[in-house]
């Protein structure tokens, strides 16, 4: 397993061909993700969010950086888990739609039928939300990659899976099939230490999660998930490899879930030291520091960025709050084609 840098270590920064503009765009998505999530938390506390919320605090780096390695104009598709808000923002999801989803509004992308970031259409939006059954999206993403190849679209499918989700039979069958077919697929395995209360050590006895690649004969590696540049560079290489016929990659990003499984979980089962240790590795702080140190941005730039985000989110929250709840008379519609519900 790759050694993680001790907190505070200075590493020479490899920027993987990113332009300054791109680096700032990444910075924007990182802050947008964190800020949007804070808005969701605030709305949750006001009881305006229906159901639970699942934070990505401390994991925004890998979410954003991995998704940023795709080329959506070419038809690439990313499949987020519940904590990959950052990934769908990069792919083009609008904050107002995310908020409407969380608030169960009638004009949310799923029209109030599904929760949080479980939405998106692979061919139209460049992303597809998961269903709750962990692991199921891996075979589905293999199918998306397969269709892309059949349609000669040369697209890449990027799937996220958790350390917990990687124990499912669905994950295994999908990875194995994709590898046999050498499909253009990249899987980012987020090892954030826990699956709900279950530590990764109880999830598998494999030496690393990347070792699971050996079962599929696909590329596998473990990287620091809180280092935006490393994640971007590694996933980008995997995407390029996938696009040029090199098959599947399984990339374990080591990161940490800084909050409980959901808002109600105070994660008493997580040793305090671990949380402190990982606090010092905050991916956004690290990334912004690097930009500052490279002379690519100043504190003032980030302040301005935050102002812009605040304005955008004010507007988004406002619009989401003013959105109507669904019409109960429509609850029975749109199960099959033909009743015109989804064409309205």
């Amino acid at each position: 397993m790759n050694q993680l840098p001790a907190p505070g270590t200075r590493l020479p920064v490899e920027t993987h061909g990113l332009t300054r503009e791109q680096m700032l765009e990444i910075a924007y998505y990182l802050r947008l993700t964190r800020s949007l999530e804070e808005r969701v938390v605030a709305l949750f506390r006001q009881a305006k969010v229906i159901g639970g919320i699942y934070r990505s605090l401390g994991q925004e780096g890998e979410s954003v950086a991995a998704a940023y390695a795709l080329d959506y104009a070419r038809g690439d598709v990313v499949q987020p888990l519940i904590r990959n808000l950052g990934a769908i923002l990069v792919a083009g999801a609008r904050p107002v739609d995310v908020l409407r989803q969380y608030m169960a509004k009638g004009n949310s992308p799923t029209r109030g039928r599904e929760l949080n970031i479980h939405f998106g259409h692979p061919a139209r939006d460049g992303f597809i939300g998961q269903i709750s059954m962990l692991g199921d999206m891996i075979p589905v993403m293999a199918g998306i990659a397969l269709a892309g190849r059949m349609q000669k679209r040369n697209l890449v499918a990027l799937a996220f899976i958790g350390d917990g989700g990687s124990s499912t039979g669905a994950f295994y069958e999908g990875m194995n099939f994709a590898s046999v077919q050498k499909l253009p697929m990249v899987v980012v395995l987020e090892n954030n230490g826990y699956a709900y209360s279950t530590p990764s050590t109880k999830q598998t006895a494999a030496r690393t999660f990347a070792d699971k690649a050996q079962a599929f004969g696909c590329h596998g590696e473990t990287i620091d998930g809180n280092d935006v540049f490393t994640v971007y560079g590694t996933v980008r290489r995997a995407v390029d490899r996938a696009r040029s016929g090199g098959g599947v990659s399984l990339i374990e990003v080591k990161t940490f879930r800084m909050k409980g499984h959901a808002e109600h979980d105070n994660q008493a089962y997580v040793p305090k030291e671990l949380i402190e240790e990982w606090s010092a590795r905050d991916p956004i702080v690290r990334y912004e520091q690097a930009l500052v140190e490279m002379g690519l941005a100043t504190a003032a730039d980030f302040d301005a960025m935050q102002q812009r985000i605040r304005r955008e989110l004010d507007a988004a929250v406002d619009e989401a709050e003013r959105s109507p709840m669904p019409d109960p008379r429509e609850a029975g519609l749109g199960l099959f084609a033909g009743d015109g519900y989804w064409e309205r």
């Binding site: 599904e114 479980h118 259409h121 669905a170 069958e173 199960l335």
Partner: protein, 325 residues
């Protein structure tokens, strides 16, 4: 009309014609390519369409249904074969939770066809004799069809491939090579959701589907000797089902048997019987009688299997009971 065509060959032709017609259609499953399928249902397809459109997979039903579904979201029209329909249980989650919910929850079309051999009577034992329809009845979003004739097998499979929603296409393996008929040479479909009245009668209706259509026919033949005129409604589609055809028949005969090959309890027949009992209450001169298999896994040994599955005699006995009511 073409030459006499078996039920199996009708399915094979439907796949070939649909793949010829629409390059988005492809076949995926275990041993469907080089081998042409465990029952040879896809014999020759790989030669005609190549391994890109006739995909041999690992033994991974979850991956088969999942990958087919993902491809369907992207605009493809996959046909996913289960080597035996029993193995759809291994991908049950994927099919009911992912595939079937795409439209209702997300407004996405996920037009896959899942097909494979079902049914008993061939001493296949408990894991190669399943009639799976009832397992999916309470999980909305999947259409279910179960043809009883070569004509319907071809026409329903073509309709399923062209349908914009996922369809479970159930083939009765007992019928594969046992029935044959000439088929139209021109393209045709059998619309999903329409029953066929196999035999017109006035005294009693048998609502059934799949291989049980033939058991109903045998029973009807024998009852005819007693002067009993039986009407047989072959549902063909389980979801959506042709409620009107059922009710029309019952309105005429006032007596009805619902017959299926799956175990009685919780079988799809319960749904039809309950509907009839509610909506045709005023027409009924006798209780709605259901006939299904014994409530056990299908046993392997011929005497046990025969005892477990419905047969002509059980139908005749039930008919007499109803007529005497």
């Amino acid at each position: 009309m073409t030459a006499e065509t078996t039920y199996l060959e009708a399915i094979r032709q439907a796949m070939i014609e649909e793949m010829d017609r629409d390059e988005r259609v492809f076949l995926i499953g275990e041993d469907v390519g080089t081998y042409g399928g465990a029952f040879k249902t896809s014999a020759g397809l790989i030669d005609r369409f190549g391994p890109e459109r006739v995909i041999d997979t690992p033994i991974s039903e979850i991956a088969i249904i999942g990958a087919a579904s993902g491809a369907a979201l992207m605009g493809m029209r996959p046909i996913a074969e289960m080597q035996f329909i029993d193995f759809i249980t291994c991908a049950y989650d994927m099919l009911v939770n992912f595939t079937a919910t795409n439209r209702y929850l997300y407004g996405r079309a996920c037009p896959i066809v899942v097909r494979g051999p079902a049914g008993g009577g061939v001493h296949g034992g408990p894991f190669h004799s399943l009639n799976p329809e009832a397992m999916f009845l309470n999980r909305p979003g999947l259409k279910i069809v179960y043809p009883a004739t070569a004509y319907d097998a071809k026409g329903l499979l073509k309709a399923a491939v062209r349908d914009d929603d996922p369809v479970l296409f159930i083939e009765h393996k007992f019928l594969y090579r046992r029935i044959r008929e000439p088929l139209p040479s021109e393209d045709y479909i059998v619309p999903i959701g329409q029953a066929a009245v196999r035999r017109r009668g006035t005294d009693l209706t048998i609502v059934t589907w799949g291989a049980m259509v033939y058991v109903a026919e045998e029973a009807a033949d024998e009852l005819k000797n007693d002067g009993v005129s039986v009407e047989i409604v072959d549902l063909r589609s389980i979801i959506p089902f042709d409620e009107q055809a059922i009710l029309e028949s019952v309105a005429k005969t006032s007596r009805v048997i619902v017959l299926h090959e799956a175990p009685l309890t919780g079988g799809a027949g319960a749904e039809f019987a309950a509907r009839i009992a509610e909506k045709a209450f005023d027409y009924l001169d006798a209780p709605v009688k259901r006939i299904g298999a014994l409530d056990v896994p299908t046993p392997y040994s011929p005497p046990l299997e025969a005892a477990a599955l419905p047969d002509k005699n059980k139908v005749i006995a039930a008919a007499r009971e109803l007529l005497a009511f």
